[in-house]
C-alpha cells in the first residue's frame, strides 16, 4: 500500500511536469500548427538559467525571472526563424525545431557541463510533511500548487481576457480573426512566448525536484506528445487530463512492472487511438 501511494504520488508529480510541457506545446500547435521539438531544450534552459541567477536574486525571483528570460529567447527565435515557416508544410517547422533542439542541448552541455548540477530550493521546503509519508516533501506539494495555480490561471486567461479569447478564436479560424483586424503575427508571437514560459517554469521546478541535466527536457518531450494525443489534439482540458493520466499510469506501473513504466504510456495511446481516434476530449474533425 505504501509502495502504491509512493509511486502514485511520484506519478502525479511527473504528470504535473507533463502537463506544463504539454500545455505549452498544445498552445503553439493549436494556433500555429508547429510541433515544437525544441520545447525540451527550452525547459532545460529555464532550469539552468534559474541555477545561474538564483545565487544573485534568490530562489523565488529566479522562479519568475528564469522562465521570463527563456520566453524572451523563444520570442526571439519565433520572430527570426519560425515565423517564416507559418503556412508552409508542417514538415519544415518540425525540422527547424528539431535542429534547434540539437543546438540547445549541445550548447547547454558546453556552457554548464554534461554532469548533473544540483539545484536546491530553500531548505525549509525540502522537509517531508510527516515521517510516515517521507516522500511527500513540502517542495513537492509546493510544485503541485504552482502547477495548479498556473493551469487555473491559464484557463482563466484564455476564458476571460481579450488576448486569451483571441488565441482561442485563432485556434478555430485564424483567417476570420485576421479579417476582424487582429494582428495575427503578434498574436502568434505572444502565444509562442506563453508556451515557452510554461516550459521554462517546468524546467525550474524540475531542477529543484531532481537535478539539472542537459537531456532533462528531451526526456519529457515524448510523454508530452503522448499526453496531447491521448487528451485529444486541439483540446487544452484534454491535454491537462492526458498529462496527469499518463503520469500516474506510468508511476503505478513502476510498482508491479518497473521495466514497462515508459512503454505503458504508448500502450495507453494505442488503446485510445483504437477506441477513440480523436483522443479522449478531442473534437471531431480537428486535424484528423
Amino acid at each position: 500500500m505504501e509502495l502504491i501511494l509512493f509511486n502514485g504520488f511520484n506519478g502525479l508529480i511527473i504528470g504535473a511536469f507533463y502537463v506544463l510541457m504539454a500545455l505549452g506545446l498544445s498552445l503553439i500547435l493549436n494556433l500555429s500548427g508547429v510541433i515544437n521539438f525544441a520545447h525540451g531544450g527550452f525547459l532545460a534552459i529555464g532550469g539552468y538559467l534559474a541555477y545561474t541567477i538564483s545565487p544573485y536574486v534568490g530562489f523565488w525571483a529566479a522562479l519568475v525571472i528564469a522562465p521570463a528570460l527563456t520566453a524572451c529567447l523563444g520570442i526571439a527565435i519565433e520572430r527570426t526563424m519560425i515565423r517564416r515557416l507559418y503556412g508552409r508544410d508542417p514538415l519544415y517547422s518540425l525540422l527547424l525545431t528539431f535542429g534547434l533542439a540539437f543546438i540547445f542541448e549541445d550548447m547547454t552541455r558546453a556552457i554548464w557541463g554534461a554532469q548533473g548540477l544540483p539545484f536546491s530550493p530553500p531548505s525549509f521546503l525540502n522537509q517531508p510533511i510527516s515521517l510516515d509519508y517521507f516522500f511527500v516533501t513540502y517542495y513537492r506539494l509546493f510544485m503541485m500548487a504552482v502547477v495548479g495555480i498556473i493551469v487555473l490561471g491559464l484557463f482563466l486567461f484564455l476564458r476571460y481576457t481579450r488576448l486569451g479569447v483571441r488565441i482561442r478564436a485563432g485556434t478555430l479560424d485564424l483567417e476570420t480573426v485576421s479579417a476582424l483586424g487582429v494582428n495575427v503575427r503578434a498574436l502568434r508571437t505572444m502565444n509562442f512566448g506563453i508556451g515557452i514560459f510554461l516550459a521554462g517554469l517546468a524546467g525550474v521546478l524540475a531542477g529543484g525536484n531532481l537535478s539539472l541535466e542537459p537531456t532533462m527536457g528531451a526526456n519529457v518531450l515524448m510523454p508530452s506528445f503522448v499526453a496531447i494525443i491521448v487528451g485529444g489534439v486541439g483540446s487544452l482540458p484534454g491535454t491537462l487530463f492526458g498529462g496527469l493520466l499518463i503520469g500516474v499510469a506510468s508511476g503505478l506501473t513502476t510498482v508491479w512492472f518497473p521495466s514497462a513504466s515508459e512503454a505503458v504510456i504508448y500502450i495507453i495511446m494505442a488503446v485510445v487511438l483504437l477506441v477513440r481516434p480523436r483522443g479522449l476530449m478531442g473534437e471531431e474533425g480537428i486535424m484528423s
Binding site: 510541433i35 526563424m81 514538415l91 519544415y92 525540422l95 535542429g99 558546453a110 496531447i228 512503454a263
Partner: protein, 317 residues
C-alpha cells in the same frame, strides 16, 4: 506536375560512381566502410521518401522500423542460424509486420497529427530495446554476432573480412530495393500515391480508397527501411538502441529533404552529404551536434527543396 525522368546519362553516371566507389573513395579521404554507410542510410532515406516525397505523408518515426530490422537481423544471427540472407529476411519481416500493425492505427491521421503519432509509436520500440536487457543487451546494444560469408554453392563470398566484398553485397541489396521502389512508383499504384499527394480530396472523389493506399505505402516504406536496418546491423556487427530513437528518424527526414524529396535520387545525395559531414565534424570538434543542428536550420530556411530541387530550378530558369 509531370517531370521527365532523369536522362539515361545521369543514371549511368550514378551507377558507375557507385560501382567504382571502392576505387575512388580512398583518393578523396574516404574509406570503403563509409561508402557502405552512405548506401545503407541512403536506402533508409529513399524508403522514407517513398512515403514522404511520393505519397506526401510525413512519418517521423521511421527509425523504429530501421532499428527493428537491425535487431531482427542481429538476433537471427545470434540465436537462430549463422545465415546472412536469413538475417536480412527476418529483419525485414519484423520491421514490416510492426509497420503493418501500427500503420493500421496511424494511416487515418494526417499532417502534423500523423507525424506526432508516428514519432510517439516509434519510441515504444526504443524503450523495449533499451529495457529488455536479457534479449537486446539494453543500453549497451546487441553484440555477439557477425555477418556470415555468403555461400553461392560454387563460390563463397567472404563479406565478413573483405570490406570491398561487403560493399558490393550492400550495393547489390541496394540495387534490388531501389529497382523495386522505382518499379512501384512507375506502376499504377505509384501513380495513385502521387495523385493522393497532389490532391487528397480529388483522389477521394475519384473513388480511390485513400486510407488503404496510405497504409500500403507506409508498409512498403517500412519494409525497405527495415531492410536498410538489417544491413546496418551487418555493417557494424552491432545493433544500437539509438538506431531506434526518434533523433535517428529526424536524421532520415533531413537526409531526404536536404537531397530533394521530390526526386527519386535526392535522399541518397542527402545521405551522402549528411554521413560525410557527420564523420568529418565529429572528428574535428566536440560540438558537432550544434553544427548538425545548424545544418537542419540552413536547409529548412534556404534550401527547402533540397540540393537537387535547387539545381533543377536553376536549370529551368
Amino acid at each position: 506536375m509531370k517531370r521527365a525522368s532523369p536522362p539515361l546519362a545521369w543514371l549511368a553516371f550514378v551507377w558507375f560512381m557507385l560501382l567504382a566507389a571502392p576505387l575512388w573513395l580512398p583518393y578523396i579521404g574516404g574509406y570503403t566502410a563509409l561508402g557502405s554507410r552512405v548506401l545503407v542510410l541512403g536506402l533508409a532515406a529513399m524508403s522514407l521518401n517513398f512515403l514522404l516525397g511520393f505519397t506526401g505523408v510525413l512519418s517521423f518515426g521511421h527509425a523504429a522500423y530501421f532499428g527493428l530490422g537491425a535487431y531482427g537481423a542481429g538476433l537471427t544471427l545470434k540465436l537462430l542460424a549463422p545465415s546472412t540472407p536469413l538475417a536480412i529476411l527476418l529483419g525485414v519481416a519484423l520491421g514490416t509486420a510492426a509497420g503493418a500493425i501500427l500503420g493500421a492505427l496511424i494511416a487515418r491521421r494526417r499532417g502534423v497529427y500523423f507525424a506526432m503519432v508516428t514519432i510517439a509509436f516509434g519510441q515504444v520500440f526504443y524503450f523495449i530495446a533499451f529495457r529488455w536487457n536479457t534479449l537486446t543487451g539494453g543500453d549497451d546494444g546487441l553484440r555477439g554476432f557477425s555477418r556470415q560469408p555468403i555461400d553461392l554453392g560454387f563460390f563463397r563470398v567472404d563479406i565478413l573480412n573483405n570490406l570491398n566484398a561487403f560493399y558490393y553485397f550492400v550495393l547489390f541489396c541496394f540495387a534490388v530495393a531501389v529497382a523495386i521502389m522505382g518499379f512501384l512508383l512507375r506502376s499504377p499504384l505509384g501513380r495513385t500515391l502521387i495523385a493522393i499527394r497532389e490532391n487528397e480530396r480529388r483522389a477521394r472523389f475519384l473513388g480511390i480508397p485513400v486510407d488503404q493506399h496510405i497504409w500500403l505505402s507506409f508498409v512498403i516504406s517500412c519494409a525497405f527501411v527495415s531492410m536498410a536496418g538489417s544491413l546496418y546491423a551487418l555493417l557494424n556487427n552491432f545493433a544500437d538502441p539509438k538506431s531506434l530513437h526518434y533523433t535517428q528518424s529526424g536524421d532520415f527526414v533531413i537526409m531526404a529533404v536536404m537531397g530533394g524529396m521530390r526526386s527519386f535520387w535526392g535522399p541518397l545525395l542527402g545521405a551522402a552529404v549528411f554521413v560525410v559531414l557527420q564523420d568529418y565534424l565529429s572528428s574535428v570538434t566536440t560540438n558537432w551536434q550544434s553544427l548538425i543542428g545548424l545544418m537542419f536550420i540552413v536547409v529548412v530556411l534556404f534550401f527547402p527543396r533540397g540540393f537537387l530541387g535547387f539545381v533543377q530550378r536553376r536549370i529551368q530558369s
